[in-house]
Subunit: 337 residues, 4 copies
């Protein structure tokens, strides 16, 4: 590279006046193009490309407590607009969704508080959110019933985690529910660590209740070929990661096992690479594995997902306009085909 | 509190001269008692208390790529000395262990490297560690064989994740293997997200190979009552967390579901609470849920586990001395009883 | 507190559709009210209160390379709209401003690059920004001239750092310059560590050139009573901190020394409290010192300033509307009075 | 590079048994060579090389509240053993040193505490350290006296920050004082932001008291050629950075201005590069500027300085042995020569 090649694009300074829309602000970020602002602007461009690319299946990885913190409707709406095709989630996020689908709420609280008093009051804390125990009691009771129903219908057949999510979505009637929207829109929700959540304890409850009758079976490994099949059958694959952990790893591994490699990648996280964990690993590292293509469009945005993801969605929604209608390549009805 | 109560313990400044043992350094940290040094010294005291407490079952949560990075023997030795009683691990950590048990190695590499070249060379990168693809090929082949064997023996019975780990440990002969040591010492290894690792893809391979014969069944939910039973039957419970994620959550949830609450907690992580994820959540937060007792001894050490955990082990090992023989309250043979 | 007091305000989930303005998005953040979104919404409310409070002097702390990264015009415009009254800056930020005032540019680059090649090409890197050496050469030459002029005018009198900044602003004609805007609008710029920047090396150059004539004198301590006087004379004081370091400490110390304590505080940073540095220290900690009042409105937003600060400004600008005209309590012409 | 070149050095797993000295543990870290353990082992090797290199001047950058937290004696001892040659410090660190030199103490406290109560009690908090206000009262009174004495002796001559530190060290008699040890051992202490600390407010107090008599003058820029001269005259230069900020920047800038470039660099910090601040910037970035040589030995250790720095010192001290006597190339008596 010649010297002048390094000095092509001067930073254009942001200018803020009057009423800026979110996407206009993102355009200012793109003009400046540096640090987090540059990365966020790149993320918006990549997500826009993903949803406009008729050959691309869009995977969303969900981790962290973003559902109780305010992103439930946002994600349900993304599903209904089919701006995501496949979700890979922690069990907990779907537990949080189901709690609200059954009429429960999460409450704005405070991170500096006497946790011993909360304990006495049967109020659980998630950073600055409070959750009353009765939310979980209602969930346990209602879902144990559903487990029984599902088990009866399935007659001993083992479910994969996405089939399990589908059965829950079928039974939850709240239109703002992620599980419900995904059921209606044929967006599969994989929960590779489903056991590590209230769903696991409800299963224990259910299996105690049901001793004489059929117990719901969920097979730990059954969803592996299913998610790999989605990647493998899709001409292109892209992922948006909120957080990291098992959901990010599952998508990346499916891209590897299906020998496709991701074509697009956006990761929103506060984790960093230096301690070697997957959540903070760079997207360059994924290239060495073949999880992502060497020429893929990709960026990591270091920041709080509750700020960054809504900006990403607002910016891209604004770009797409009201008339945009995405025709997804993939549909959940094709799973396993 | 009176004013003077706040001003009781002057910081004693560290003094370093001659040859200090690790525990002597930790004593200096305790004398100074501030910032990370104070927290690490507290962690050593808490771990020492845990292993000396005859009523306490010690849970170790393993996440992140600490096994390829050099902690494999360290953890196998902890198991053999029965300074841990139960392990909750990502699938990946046990994959890394099995790779070495089958003769593979991880290699010291570099984090600044051309990942496209690594890809061409079939070398996978984990931050600054390199892993040749043949490690995985050998693993896939050998373990698919084992899966077949296990399935044949179990005749359609679904395993829990710890039973699956036990079956692997039985078949891996390397004495430095964590899976092997755990098998021999009756230390159960739970892998609540076992599917999210090479174990999942080997299962896919195995089930393709085995179409006509029995396929290995692992039940997603079967280990829930088992780990809860361990907590519930143990007079006291303590955890040491490396990283966070599913392993930390699983232990904490078991403590909650068994209505015991942890008595001791040490978390080593770089994650922070502000974005609401579980891995960075404070141990105070766990008190609100009843996952940890209000009066439990607990501390979070913010740091790289590859530095902090070996210091913790070296300090406590030195304190215990060569003649110390721990008689654990819990043994894996009692699981499910 | 009663149980129900903890459960007053349900999280309202964000809803994104059509074109959202930045402030409409911030309102969604306020409705959800959790994690980073809640903190950023609180920051917008506090900054709005500060500028609407006729008795409040608004201090802005500038650290990190936010000027080359795209916030130069933004801050110059804030000064011209008198939405800040006093700036406390690193030397480097004003060096970056002066470089552009003299016709230089910063360039969008890349953080993954061969730094040895950049060195050969005389291109300096600031994360993903490239700066050609000629920027500094021009700066050195021009400013050494200005130093000579200033020294001649001042005839041996020692300047304080803000007087030095004022003299530079007087001589830089670029209307987008922060130094210029501050000069014109009578917004003092303090640079408590002015020596730790190119300004220091230009002084060395200047004093070599000037051996026979007067050398510019800048007194390290002279600005202390000046900034304390501003705090002391203002009925209320508020600060907005970008980053931390010396600029944050200087404002907080002035609030302490003037026995006022800040009434408002917003800190935007990625630093955390656990290692004991000032930049990551909580605003609660400042209360113990009397740097901030116990009842002050305050919040720390953990995030990248290049994203967070423009959002803050866009939201508050939108709220204030085009007709808002702030009449500041403090003017730089009153300094030292 | 050929494939096999990437796969040369297998990770050797750590083995911990019996009593390990700190350096033996560091050797285990070197054998494993990955993540933070690998970086810390490299840091020990680099510091050992620096002190054994007869041509190398060792700069130590001090930021953050490491002195009150327990590293005061450690650093005084390093000075007395002449394992550092030049210190660049925040003002605050030397304020903390002086407070203890005058008989004050810092107290082990707690980071979760009612800061309003501390305020009422006149107790200041630094994360989990408590400092009673009387420490500062005594300091203000005693140092204002010293300022008067120094001013009287200097008769209007402006001091550089290191001359100011020297005058303080001459007057503080505590042998454990860093300022005192540095005075006795001719190790200059530069405080480029001296004004941003209690030293600044004491100057205000002093200049009010002294109105009729001579006021102490400290020139902001006078130390620039002095520190550049040290770098320029030394065949090689190395730095160890605790934290970052102004101290790190000052050393790096001196290496640049003297056209030498550092030969060795160790940085201990929790800051990261992504938001563009200097404290988290990589050492590769400094190569582009010429602040560090392209071939320099360098490493950044991400961690808490209260843990990492004592380990570094303990390891290197153990390696050097009791009989090691370093003959430094540079002495403070040569400053400005």
């Amino acid at each position: 590279m010649r010297r002048r090649d390094y000095l092509q694009n001067p930073v254009k300074h942001m200018k803020i006046s009057g009423k800026l829309t979110v996407n206009q602000l993102i355009q200012q970020f793109k003009n400046s193009g540096s640090f987090g602002a540059g990365r966020l602007a790149a993320a918006c461009d990549i997500y826009e490309k993903m949803v406009r690319d008729k050959d691309c299946t869009v995977f969303l990885a969900l981790s962290g407590a973003v559902i109780p913190a305010g992103m439930r409707t946002l994600i349900a709406d993304l599903i209904r607009a089919r701006l995501v095709d496949v979700i890979v989630s922690t069990g907990a996020s779907m537990v949080h969704d189901a709690i609200e689908a059954l009429g429960g709420h999460h409450y704005k609280g405070n991170s500096v508080v006497d946790d011993r008093e909360l304990y006495k009051y049967h109020i659980f804390r998630i950073y600055d959110i409070f959750v009353p125990e009765e939310n979980f009691v209602r969930l346990d009771f209602k879902l144990a019933e559903m487990y029984g129903e599902i088990a009866a219908e399935k007659k001993g057949e083992s479910l994969s985690s996405n089939e399990f999510a589908l059965e829950l979505g079928k039974r939850l009637k709240d239109p703002n529910s992620i599980l419900r929207a995904a059921y209606e829109e044929e967006v599969p929700i994989f929960m590779p660590a489903v056991r590590d959540s209230e769903f696991g304890f409800i299963h224990w409850l259910h299996s105690s209740q049901q001793k004489q009758k059929t117990v719901l079976q969920v097979d730990a490994f059954k969803d592996v070929p299913l998610i790999c099949g989605i990647c493998g059958n899709s001409p292109k694959n892209g992922m948006i990661v909120i957080g990291g952990g098992v959901p990010r790893n599952t998508i990346q591994s499916a891209a590897l096992a299906s020998k496709k490699g991701l074509d697009y990648g956006v990761v929103i996280t506060m984790d960093r690479p230096e301690t070697g964990g997957l959540s903070g690993s760079t997207l360059e590292e994924t290239v060495s594995w073949g999880k992502m293509k060497g020429e893929a469009d990709h960026v990591m945005v270091i920041g709080d997902a509750l700020i960054i993801f809504p900006m990403l969605v607002a910016s891209v929604t604004e770009r797409l306009g009201n008339d945009f209608k995405r025709v997804p390549y993939f549909s959940g009805s094709k799973i396993g085909a």
